[in-house]
């Protein structure tokens, strides 16, 4: 059994909680310590089994409808001048589901209608407030107020990616073409999207390729690959892009990891943990590297 301090470091390393320096130091220790290597393998085996074996269910449609109706009642109670048609939704789960379905579309339409104002700017400003220091904040805000058109396209892309991810999670929206293996998805993309992304399955590593889908953003038909990882769905979007690659970020509880390969932009979106999302990214990049060199 490793000593207590080494053990807590082992868990932190395993959970991706060590910074790069500490992780490298621990890897040095691993090379010389068979005990810790065995302990790490044990942790990995149990995690894989948990993620593969534990049952999970999605919230029933009836529950989603009940909650929507309850929220409608709550909202109308706090705004007494306006009567919301809450009972219609309560009586009809499908209507409530449809209401959920239109969310992403509504957000997009609203943004178009109001130009560069509205929710996307609001959340962009919030991100600045939490992320930047005071002086920088003032300078950035001034820049932001003077030239909103320079900033909003980036915010719009992040919104588009998150919206596309959320919409894909609705029943029957996840894939247009199911994957039996990568050879069913790749040819489908050829006829349905404007790009030809790398298609890989990583079932053995805990990321099962579910299939492909076409999404529309950045003025083109972008490709989306859906992976299942435990109860989480990961969407990997790809499109042809230019300009600065957006930085990895978290939006509305979803992590977005960006990278580029040739003239293609990629973004992996999910509510997995960061280490788990970045692991898929490195798997895809390693597979791409192998293909282009081998």
């Amino acid at each position: 059994m490793p000593c207590a301090e080494t053990e807590s470091r082992l868990h932190a390393y395993f959970d991706g909680e060590l910074d790069a320096l500490a992780a490298a130091a621990f890897e040095g220790h691993l090379e010389s310590c068979a005990e810790c290597r065995a302990a790490l393998a044990g942790l990995e085996a149990m995690r894989s089994a948990l993620r593969a074996e534990l049952p999970y269910e999605r919230a029933p449609a009836a529950l989603a409808a009940r909650i929507t109706a309850a929220l409608d009642r709550e909202a109308s109670a706090s705004a007494p001048h306006k009567q919301e048609p809450a009972d219609e939704l309560a009586a009809d789960p499908l209507a409530a589901l449809a209401a959920l379905t239109t969310l992403a579309a509504r957000g997009r339409a609203a943004r178009r209608g109001r130009g560069a104002s509205g929710r996307s700017t609001a959340s962009f400003g919030r991100g600045l407030l939490t992320g930047a220091g005071g002086g920088l904040l003032a300078a950035t805000l001034a820049f932001f107020l003077i030239s909103p058109h320079l900033i909003s396209p980036r915010g719009a892309l992040l919104d588009d990616l998150v919206n596309a991810h959320v919409r894909s999670l609705l029943p029957a929206h996840l894939v247009d073409v199911e994957s039996t293996d990568r050879h069913t998805v790749k040819p489908w993309f050829a006829g349905h999207v404007d790009v030809s992304p790398a298609v890989y399955d990583f079932t053995a590593q805990g990321y099962r390729l579910l299939g492909g889908r076409a999404d529309y953003f950045e003025h083109q038909r972008a490709a989306a690959l859906a992976y299942q990882h435990g109860p989480h769905v990961i969407n990997v979007f790809s499109w042809a892009g230019e300009g600065a690659l957006p930085a990895d970020t978290t939006r509305n509880g979803y992590h977005l990891a960006f990278w580029e390969e040739g003239n293609l932009r990629y973004c992996a979106v999910s509510d997995t943990g960061w280490p788990e999302l970045l692991k898929l990214v490195s798997l895809i990049r390693a597979a791409e590297g192998q293909e282009s060199h081998g």
């Binding site: 053990e7 807590s8 868990h11 932190a12 959970d15 991706g16 909680e17 044990g42 942790l43 149990m46 995690r47 089994a49 948990l50 993620r51 074996e53 534990l54 049952p55 999970y56 269910e57 999605r58 919230a59 029933p60 529950l63 989603a64 009940r66 909650i67 309850a70 929220l71 709550e74 909202a75 706090s78 705004a79 306006k82 959920l100 969310l103 509504r106 957000g107 609203a110 209608g113 929710r119 959340s123 919030r126 991100g127 407030l129 939490t130 959320v166 999670l169 435990g230 109860p231 989480h232 978290t250 509305n252 509880g253 509510d271 997995t272 943990g273 960061w274 788990e276």
Partner: protein, 187 residues
């Protein structure tokens, strides 16, 4: 063009866009806390309403961890109310009383998984102390990081780390016992 949406409508739209997408995750977590699927439904609905009322307090923070904390608090409040003793403080870890909060058979149970229930990892998890089961679910299944788990369970990160190590050790013991039994059965 329609008129500008009211403040209430804008707030609701923001909630729909930022919180409701995490309904499935909240439900999964609730299934591990609640006694039955019906209880999980009630728990999630209550939590969503509370989340909506407290939504203005959330400013660009971690939506999922915030929602999970509300689900968990609703669950604990519900237990306290069922005990009809008003407020019940959470027992300390290691307190022999902490078992009082354990529901006899929580966790998702579909017909398909009942078959191997006795041996399943889900069953092994259910046998763990609730704070051990919870930290394992949050880390290994929901993939929250230490900081987020600390926010959900309202304990310091150091406690999260020691709890997680103990939980993994406890599950490992049960799991290797199962593996041994399976090996014996093969002979």
């Amino acid at each position: 063009m329609t008129v500008e949406p009211s403040f209430t409508e804008a707030r609701r739209a923001r909630f729909d866009a930022e919180v409701l997408p995490h309904l499935d995750a909240a439900y999964r977590f609730a299934r591990w806390l609640a006694r039955s699927p019906a209880d999980a439904d009630d728990l999630v609905q209550e939590a969503m309403l509370r989340a909506f009322r407290g939504f203005d307090g959330l400013r660009g923070g971690d939506v999922k961890a915030w929602l999970f904390a509300i689900v968990r608090n609703c669950h604990l409040t519900g237990i306290a109310q069922r005990d009809r003793r008003g407020f019940v403080p959470l027992p300390e870890e290691g307190d022999p009383q902490h078992g009082a909060l354990v529901c006899p058979a929580p966790g998702p149970e579909s017909a398909s998984m009942r078959r191997d229930e006795e041996r399943s990892l889900a069953r092994l998890l259910e046998d763990l102390a609730p704070e051990h089961r919870e930290v394992l679910i949050l880390r290994e299944i929901e993939e929250l990081d230490y900081r987020e788990i600390a926010a959900v369970t309202q304990v310091p990160i150091g406690t999260v780390m020691s709890r997680l190590a103990r939980a993994r050790a406890a599950l490992k013991v049960r799991w290797s016992m199962r593996s041994e039994e399976e090996r014996d059965a093969m002979r």
